[in-house]
Amino acid sequence: MMLSGWGRFPQQWCALHQPRDEAEVRAAMATGPRIARGNGRGYGDCAMQRNATIEMRRFNRMLAFEEETGQLVTEAGVLLAEVIDTFLPRGWFPPVTPGTKFVTIGGMVAADVHGKNHHRDGTFGRFVDWIDLMGEDGEVRRCSPQENAELFAWTIGGMGLTGVILRVAFRLRRVESAWIRQTTLPARNLDHVMALFEENGAATYSVAWIDCLNTGSGLGRSALMLGEHACADELSRTRRNAPFSVPAKRSRTMPVDLPRAALNRMTVKAFNALYYRNARAAAGDALVDWDSYFYPLDAILEWNRIYGARGFMQFQCVLPLDSAHAGLTELLRAIIASGEGSFLSVLKRMGAEHGPFSFPMEGYTLALDFPFSSGTARLMERLDAITLDHGGRFYLAKDARMSAATLRRADPRADVLAKVRRDAGLANFRSSQSERLCL
């Protein structure tokens, strides 16, 4: 059937398998080149393979939980949303979460996702105790820092290229409530927001929404949002009695694809200005429920359709600390010069690098998205070049179009991964993305 990632570009016909058990995974694998797929929240073609795309959503059982350590064992297709629904009422929360809860645990491992706490806690992979991985021979191997350690390390952030993840053991963190104490700090420009990030390194969560259209001295105008899990005694008396219950919300579904014109430069500009104004108005402290804080976009199901049928492209890079300021300035200027508005632009301070192929490194990451057009492609190439000039690298979970040469220039680890895959006979685990990037 026709498949695509969350960005709806590219679309490709793939033979889709939906196995229920190991034997069915093995049978799907036997057809030749194949890649595992989670919930398709990667933006581009990382979870697509024409010959066999193995969707793991039916591996959706939770298997064990240890109260003393918070260790949860689940099958790879369990959604993060299900983990939260089950364990937040008992006082546990994921140690790291991306900006959507509709991802599978397998997908979180494969992309080694980062969250708003990356500067403090690192990626999801740091909380993974072991992985059960099906290899080329159809055998299932337990991989951990003790057993099959190299395979374990490459699987975390390996984008499905080391095998099919069947089960994962990872540790949840204890929380006292379902509420986040949020502090919003408006920032005049890039200097200001970077200074605020550095000052607030002790905050558990931090992320900035950045206005990509403001020029001059206001370049990089943004709103920095800090967050802490609220303790029970920070809640009002009524909420303290039920610290894990939050008001029910209604989710809306984007009913149709919006015509391309609905998302023009004007609306983007208006949205960005409004967002910044709201942030200023809301500056200060607020108690926000977990869902609104971590997953504001999830409230509009299928929001990717606002970009119309042609889809959109994400761009996410990370720049090392010492060149981040110069690089971000150039990136923002290039976006403004292009006239392509980025609807959602997120800036985040990242902590230390970890893992042989995971995306994050110490520095600043900028995530942008653009509706798909001919101009976008040129802009993206420009952004690639600026990133390369400043020693940055790219997030494969967001990529749909980068060239193999660009990846190699950005990340010498790509060749190491390719060699590891060759040596271990893993070449048949391959996605459209890995084929494009010659991994």
């Binding site: 059982r61 939770m62 298997l63 064990a64 939980f65």
Partner: protein, 245 residues
């Protein structure tokens, strides 16, 4: 845990598993019975973790009636609700020429389910309470060329449940018959099913759960099926025999 235990016979099926989750979500301990039941340990763990109830696993082969009494004795507790989901679609064309295949379909859909639910009914009657839910099929409402071996066995089971309900109506034991139309499960995987007439397993489970609390006698899951079957039953045999349905 005070909520009443629920036994699900044929728990591996999509409908059975959806029922287990639905009852567990309402706080009921669930007893999962199936053949090759070892494979269900992970499902039991999943149910217990998600819903905070207990879930146990039990071996049953519906083709071995001599084992039924021991099976019931082995349960941690006589359940309050027993649901039989077991069924086998079989292949109609094969069943026309292969007696063993036809017999397997008949035994799996009629003999086994009827004998086991009958035995459970006796125990419930002795206790004076309980709910028996049998999953039969709309296919049992009228024999059709395309699946009458399966359909006739389901017809037998529907009649058995009806008689059981009639007999036990004054005893405090309730018997409910479920006649699902199309359901998107392993049984129908790969078939081209009309969307308006097809239900998801979770919706079937929800409908059964609700109907059982209201002590309904016969349900169709999707109400449109009541109408569809009324029409199909009303067609005179002289015309019906010439149709292709």
């Amino acid at each position: 845990m005070t909520a009443a235990p629920v036994l699900i016979i044929g728990a591996r099926s999509d409908i059975g598993m959806a029922l287990a989750h639905r009852y567990a979500a309402a706080g009921h301990p669930v007893q999962l019975a199936a053949r090759a039941s070892k494979g269900l340990e992970a499902d039991a763990a999943n149910i217990a973790l998600r819903h905070g109830t207990s879930a146990s696993v039990h071996e049953i082969d519906i083709l071995e009636p001599e084992s039924f009494a021991a099976f019931l004795d082995s349960l941690p507790q006589l359940p309050h609700v027993a649901i039989c989901v077991v069924g086998l679609l079989g292949d109609q064309a094969t069943s026309q020429t292969d007696i063993a295949a036809a017999q397997l379909t008949m035994r799996s859909n009629y003999e086994g389910p009827a004998l086991l639910t009958g035995l459970i009914a006796e125990r419930f009657a002795a206790r004076g309470s309980g709910t028996i839910i049998g999953i039969s099929s709309v296919a049992g409402e009228r024999g059709r060329a395309s699946n009458y071996v399966y359909g006739s066995a389901k017809a037998g089971y529907t009649a058995f449940l009806s008689g059981l309900r009639n007999r036990l109506s004054k005893t405090g034991v309730h018997v409910m018959t479920v006649l699902p139309g199309f359901v998107r499960t392993r049984m129908t995987a790969g078939m081209d099913l009309p969307a308006r007439l097809t239900a998801e397993p979770a919706a079937v489970a929800e409908a059964i759960f609700r109907a059982a609390t209201k002590q309904r006698d016969v349900i169709y899951v999707k109400p449109v099926w009541r109408l569809v079957m009324a029409i199909i039953r009303a067609i005179p045999e002289g015309i019906f025999k010439g149709t292709k349905l």
